[in-house]
Symmetry: C2
Subunit: 102 residues, 2 copies
């Protein structure tokens, strides 16, 4: 199993809007081959720190999705003002892991 973590940071006042956007997501990824689940985590210390955590059967499935039309459509429907408000902290804060034990 493979996990991708994107760490987003947004002004605390806009955090509820970002959480809502995830709750109303298009869900196009759900039917994608190898997709297992997506969770949205909000820090209990800093509400503006939000992690998008997706589980995949393998790294290959994840990479295939990132290059897909479904991913582009999902991203493009996000409100532009909200997108502008998000700072993807740094590229290295998109991290990925093999799940090696449960």
């Amino acid at each position: 199993m493979y996990v991708s973590v994107s760490r987003l940071r947004i002004d605390a006042s806009k955090a509820p809007q970002l959480v809502d956007a995830f709750r109303q997501r298009a869900g196009l990824v759900d039917a994608f081959e190898g997709f297992l689940r997506l969770e949205v985590w909000q820090s209990d210390r800093e509400v503006g720190e939000i992690l998008m955590v997706s589980h995949w059967e393998s790294r290959e499935c994840f990479k295939r999705y990132m290059r897909s039309a479904e991913h582009r459509v999902s991203h493009d429907r996000i409100d532009t003002a909200l997108l502008d408000a998000i700072t993807l902290e740094r590229l290295e804060h998109v991290q990925s892991y093999e799940v090696v034990g449960t």
Copy 2:
């Protein structure tokens, strides 16, 4: 739902031993009230970066476990040499989150 993340760092040569230790864990936590699941994540870029990710029904359940005899027993059975080899990078790298969307 509540998530606790402990980021451990160990010399790459000892990473397989740490992963094995998790696979052979006592499992005392599994029956604890409010425990949902534990995953062990290994970075695909740095094999010595290992995250212990546990899911809980609530923050209260997690805190109760951290103060429990079960937690102490689980921790105490870890090989001392292995424990010494682990550097818990910093205290703030034990992070916790509310799961606000799926």
